[in-house]
């Protein structure tokens, strides 16, 4: 309670000034909708200022996503929806500049000043922020019964050292794209294991239906780690042991999985050698121009594939969970931004209120419709409005069920660089076991 009073004393004037200007704009913008808007603007100013001063002021920082609206609009809506908390939006660079977003967040959090109070973070940063003590453990605010409303894989990614330090917000994952028309010719059944996939792809390639059987991303970059996580998990393997203190990447399950990727180029020859220098876009282009049968990629490809101006395969593309090895689980590498509360926030209650609102069913619904970002609550995939407006997204529930986090360790930034280099070496040289042994030793040194 004291901090709620303290807030306005220290910084009410500039903040209140900004807010009123913002609100005025908002009110003018939506004057047509709000019958009482003009009245509010004319007579309500004094009242609003007084009210603003009794509100807890917090800040929210996030990478900037765009759609039919921005996160700034979202925050405005929250400010309008209640009169206890007033949120200032801090806009970070867009997610494509994720290294810059990361730096910006780390710099602010490391100051331990409590700004930003609430932030959004890429799934791979969660462990690092938690280990540094910057992210507030959320267990007491979100007990088990509240958590069951989210995908399990996402919750795992939000948990570090047994504590929930982030709240699921929106997600993406790797998925299996296939050409319906070509598949029809070759059995018509979406392959559920990798061996079947390779056989069908080779057959289609041999028959001349497509140039490439299977496209994936082998460039020495973050996406290679995602491709590796998926295929290793689908063989019941893992990159890190459950305790996160040692590497399992030189175990048979992982080695066989990486060997399979190597074989797609050199053995079964269902992938061109070019995948070794391809990240998402270069691999997407041959697929949407109709040259490939199967592809692993993120959800952004689907709208492009359905756009007649950019695609030769409109209405011919289907999406399924990626195949698995016999006895393995079909997995999808988890991406997306999750919410966190600054452990040094002086306005904890207010921060939790914003957090709860942002991750609520209603807000996730709004984000799904206005930004095209998929919800982390499985229930929303049954929502009628989402089903009609974002039918593709609604079909992804099965894919997201297999969502798997990348290695959860505070040293992720170092681990991923080692993984990118080691897996790239294995794929290029073909000495998978030897390279994985060297890589495991290197990772053990980082996390041990």
């Amino acid at each position: 309670m004291t901090d709620i009073k303290k807030g306005p004393v220290s910084g009410s004037k500039p903040a209140a000034h900004v807010t009123i200007a913002d609100r005025r704009q908002f009110l003018i913008g939506s004057a047509g909708l709000l019958g009482a808007a003009t009245l509010g603007l004319g007579t309500g100013l004094g009242v609003r200022r007084a009210r603003a001063q009794s509100r807890a002021e917090i800040s929210f920082a996030s990478a900037a996503f765009f759609g039919k609206e921005t996160f700034g609009d979202l925050i405005k809506a929250f400010n309008e929806s209640q009169d206890r908390v007033l949120v200032k939006n801090i806009e970070l660079p867009p997610p494509s500049s994720s290294t810059e977003v990361y730096q910006g967040l780390v710099q602010q959090l490391a100051r331990r000043t409590g700004t930003p109070d609430v932030f959004s973070q890429d799934v791979i940063w969660i462990a690092g922020f938690a280990a540094a003590g910057w992210a507030l453990p959320l267990d007491e605010y979100f007990p088990a019964d509240k958590r069951s409303a989210y995908f399990t894989g996402t919750l795992n990614a939000c948990t570090y050292d047994g504590k929930l330090t982030a709240l699921p917000w929106f997600m993406d994952s790797g998925m299996f794209y296939y050409r319906k028309d070509v598949l029809e010719k070759h059995g018509g059944k979406v392959p559920e294991n990798w061996a079947d996939m390779a056989t069908i792809a080779a057959a289609a390639q041999k028959a001349g239906d497509v140039d490439f059987g299977y496209l994936w991303q082998g460039k020495q970059a973050e996406v290679l780690v995602c491709d590796a996580v998926e295929i290793i998990t689908s063989n019941n393997g893992a990159i890190l042991a459950p305790d996160g203190k040692s590497s399992l990447i030189n175990q048979k399950a992982a080695v066989d999985a990486i060997q399979f990727l190597h074989d797609t180029i050199n053995g079964t020859k269902i992938s061109p050698q070019d995948v070794l220098s391809w990240d998402e876009e270069p691999s997407r282009q041959p697929f949407t121009s109709g040259k490939a049968m199967f592809m692993r990629n993120w959800s952004y490809v689907y709208p492009i594939a359905q756009d007649a101006k950019a695609s030769q395969v409109v209405d011919k593309v289907g999406v399924a969970p990626l195949p698995a090895f016999p006895g393995g689980k079909r997995s999808a590498c988890l991406g997306g931004y999750q919410l966190g509360v600054n452990a040094n926030s002086k306005q904890r209650e207010a921060a939790i209120e914003l957090l709860t609102w942002l991750s609520s069913t209603e807000t996730q619904h709004r984000i799904a419709l206005n930004f095209g970002l998929a919800p982390t609550r499985p229930a929303l995939f049954q929502d009628e409005k989402i089903k009609t407006e974002q039918p593709f997204m609604a079909s992804l529930e099965k894919v997201f069920t297999g969502a798997t986090a990348r290695p959860i360790t505070p040293e992720y930034a170092k681990v991923t660089l080692a993984l990118q280099s080691g897996i790239s070496k294995a794929l290029v040289s073909g000495n998978v076991q030897a390279e994985m042994d060297a890589l495991a030793a290197q990772i053990n040194q980082i996390v041990g």
């Binding site: 020495q220 970059a221 061109p272 070019d274 070794l276 391809w278 930034a413 790239s424």
Partner: protein, 309 residues
């Protein structure tokens, strides 16, 4: 107020007389010194200091750790891998650019129709932002649809598409080609100005003595061009050593670390993993290597000038 004004009014000329010339000079140099120190000297010293600490934004450590970063660096295979790639890139691109640039300069030195236009057009690649060059080369050398593969395939020089950026054997070569294309005009320009300082009378005298083109070049132009050549080579080598944007855009250091250079490595260590201490050690090692390269060039240049005297 008036008193103060008079005092200072009288005081000023006296002060000028009282101060010796050297002090005045130093006083006037102070602004330049302060600005240089703050933008150049301080960052270098701070970088050196950081390299002796274990500073990391993630672990929040910030303690003096002596030379432990350098010990780690000495045993770091990634670092030496990047170091050799950078040296190879620097050597290959500098030699190629100097040789081709010299050829271009010799042609542009001759009088022919449209020379002004050619001289201007020649500079276009150099004027282009490197990121644009990178994107252009990524299309030219694309493994599937690249025009280079198309030409080579139809000329019968290769029997299947080469995956230029996806194979460790060709990735670095391709990056060197891109750099040569971009920076040769700069070398040509520097060498052209050098060539123009060679007195025409010397060349005419040689011709009268019956010297042919090659002899004139080898015994008159080249020796006189040597200092320019070395200085241009030094500029180019130091610049090439810092190669970043081409690698960052084209390969990101892959495949299998085959194009990792010191700049991309230090960027990854500094800004992806936020290990400012160790990253600064990598940068310092770069700085030292560049210093050695510059030293070698300068010693050779000094020897050359002494011999000429």
């Amino acid at each position: 107020m008036t008193a103060a004004a008079t005092v200072s009014g009288i005081g000023r000329p006296r002060l000028g007389k009282a101060l010796p010339g050297a002090v005045w000079a130093l006083l006037l140099l102070t602004p330049a010194f302060v600005s240089l120190a703050s933008v150049s000297f301080y960052p270098i010293v701070n970088g050196l200091y950081l390299s002796l600490t274990n500073t990391s934004l993630i672990t929040q450590e910030n303690e003096f750790s002596g030379f432990s970063n350098y010990v780690q660096l000495w045993g770091d295979a990634q670092f030496w891998n990047a170091w050799w790639h950078t040296m190879w890139f620097t050597t290959a691109s500098t030699i190629l650019e100097t040789a081709i640039g010299l050829g271009m300069a010799l042609i542009l030195c001759e009088a022919f129709k449209g020379r002004g236009l050619v001289r201007a057009a020649m500079l276009v690649p150099w004027a282009m932002p490197t990121v644009v060059t990178s994107k252009m080369f990524s299309w030219l050398f694309d493994g599937q649809n690249g025009i280079i593969n198309y030409i080579l395939l139809h000329a019968g020089l290769i029997d299947q598409n080469v995956n230029w950026y996806g194979s460790p054997d060709t990735a670095m070569t391709t990056i060197i080609i891109a750099d040569v294309w971009k920076t040769t005009p700069f070398m040509a320009l520097l060498l052209l100005t050098g060539l123009q300082t060679v007195p025409n009378s010397l060349i005419e005298a040689a011709r009268m003595d019956g010297a042919k083109g090659w002899i004139t070049f080898w015994y008159i132009r080249l020796p006189l061009l040597m200092p320019t050549l070395l200085i241009a080579g030094l500029f180019r080598a130091l610049d090439a050593f810092r190669v970043f944007d081409l690698v960052y855009v084209l390969t990101g250091g892959g495949p299998a670390d085959s194009t990792e250079t010191l700049s991309t490595l230090s960027y990854k260590v500094l800004f992806s993993t936020l290990q400012f201490g160790y990253g600064s050690a990598v940068s310092t090692a770069m700085f030292v290597t560049e210093g050695i390269i510059a030293l070698v060039f300068c010693l050779y240049l000094i020897r050359l000038i002494r011999r000429a005297q």
